[in-house]
Amino acid sequence: MHDFASEFSKALSLIFEGDSELWAIVLLSLRVSMFAVLIAAIIGMPVGAALAVARFPGRRVMIVLMNALMGLPPVVVGLLVYLMLSRSGPLGVLELLYTPNAMILAQVVLVTPIIAALTRQVTEMLAEEYSEQLRSLGVSRLSSVPVLLWDARVALVTALLAGFGRAIAEVGAVIIVGGNINHVTRVMTTTIALETSKGNLALALALGAILIGIAVAVNAMVSTLSLRAEQEGLRHA
């Protein structure tokens, strides 16, 4: 680690000089994780809101299960998705293994419980407030789901960010199902893992710095936007 400082500044200059290979990796990370969050939101938000309003036997069990799934170890998810997508697995014919789509799938599995669980928490409080009014208007429990999701939109942004944070920072699952193939499935976190295993700790750390930078930038952007929305919309809420 004698020339740590010089390695680090070399890595930073790669970033700021717009090294195309590095930026391709950054873009792929964003692409995969944003797609995964989008799909996870499409699945997780209605499921979370439905769990908040629906009343059926086993609901509590499902909620506990969903909360537990928030803490799924990524490596386990990676293995499960690998076994599904492997040529010898049930979905092998889709030829998804070692593609960005496989990584998206793994991240969807990781992120959907997070978004669903947070959505349930947020919408359950809102549903309590709205319950009588919506019933008075003849809105059934299940058809109140879109109403609740739309009206909880500001709080749901946080759920999306939590999901995105988990997706973009995750390495255990994507390295198994993506294979960390150069120019195909190499993302920020798998690059960091690779550089660490090569002993290039400074470069790995610099890549980690970009990862943090991206997370901060995305959070700042979204929270600025939603804060403005909140100030305009919910001044007296």
């Binding site: 040529r87 070692y98 193939i181 936007l225």
Partner: protein, 272 residues
């Protein structure tokens, strides 16, 4: 306002998602971390890709995992270094035929202080026995990889079962070569590594090469086409072209010309 927020998100997503995934003919090679981490594959593959237009996608894992992935059909070509396992792979019908590809050698690295006083020796078995006697820290891959299998072979040839001392002076990381070297560097321990990974490793700390040149440290790589009869989806033509290129004059020359710190680290020996 919230609409703006959604719009911004969609625009970002559009920018980011926009370009479609590249879709060219490609093959998946299940290989080991040593070939990737050393930079060999990054060096020789562009030549093959330019010549044939076939993209080579390398999944670099330990030999054990690479073989299991290939058994599952998750790859077209297997390129590893554990001859008995490779021969079993072919005998079990998972692979078509095994070709010798190249060799490099293992080396024993350890701290400059050298508590077991093995430095400068050329006999790996003597060195391992000395380490055991001194109970000097030794870090093992412990991950069923080719390197790990080779290491275990030397221990047993030396008549030592280091796993009895697992968790004391003998530490099994269960990770790749690089990660294991990071651990060895961090705790000033001995480790068995392939020379290529060692030369390209950036975090040597106080470690240096202590034992080298023993013929038993010879590390043979083989290459096998995954059997298209067992796994019909295997891209047999492209895979076979890659193997033919690797063991042909162009591939062999490319391997021979790869230098690390001015040293040749892989020695082509196909057809010998």
């Amino acid at each position: 306002m919230f609409r703006d927020c959604i719009l911004a998100a969609l625009v970002t997503l559009g920018l980011v998602v926009g370009p479609a995934w590249a879709e060219e003919p490609f093959i998946v090679v299940q290989s080991t971390t040593s070939t990737q981490n050393s930079g060999l594959l990054d060096f020789i593959l562009p030549g093959f890709e330019a010549e044939t237009g076939i993209e080579v996608r390398v999944v670099a894992v330990g030999t054990g995992q690479a073989i299991r992935n290939a058994v599952n059909g998750d790859g077209d070509v297997l390129m590893v270094h554990s001859k008995p396992d490779e021969e079993k792979f072919v005998a079990d019908g998972w692979g078509v035929e095994r070709f010798d590809l190249m060799y490099n050698d293992f080396i024993l690295v350890g701290p400059k202080s050298d508590p077991a006083a093995v430095g400068g020796g050329a006999d790996i078995l003597t060195a391992l026995t000395a380490i055991e006697a001194a109970e000097a820290p030794f870090v093992s891959r412990g991950d069923d990889s080719g390197t790990h299998k080779a290491e275990m072979g030397h221990w047993s040839a030396a008549g030592v079962d280091p796993t009895d001392a697992s968790g004391t002076w003998y530490r099994e990381t269960g990770s790749g070569m690089g990660a294991t070297l990071n651990v060895a560097s961090g705790m000033d321990a001995y480790a068995l590594t392939d020379r290529a990974t060692w030369l390209s490793f950036g975090n040597k700390g106080s470690l240096e090469v202590l034992v080298e040149g023993d013929t038993r440290l010879f590390n043979q790589y083989g290459v096998i086409l995954v059997n298209p009869t067992t796994h019909p989806h295997v891209r047999a033509n492209a895979g076979q072209r890659f193997i033919d290129w690797l063991i042909g004059p162009d591939g062999q020359a490319a391997i021979a010309s790869y230098m690390l710190d001015g040293q040749q680290v892989f020695f082509p020996n196909a057809g010998e």
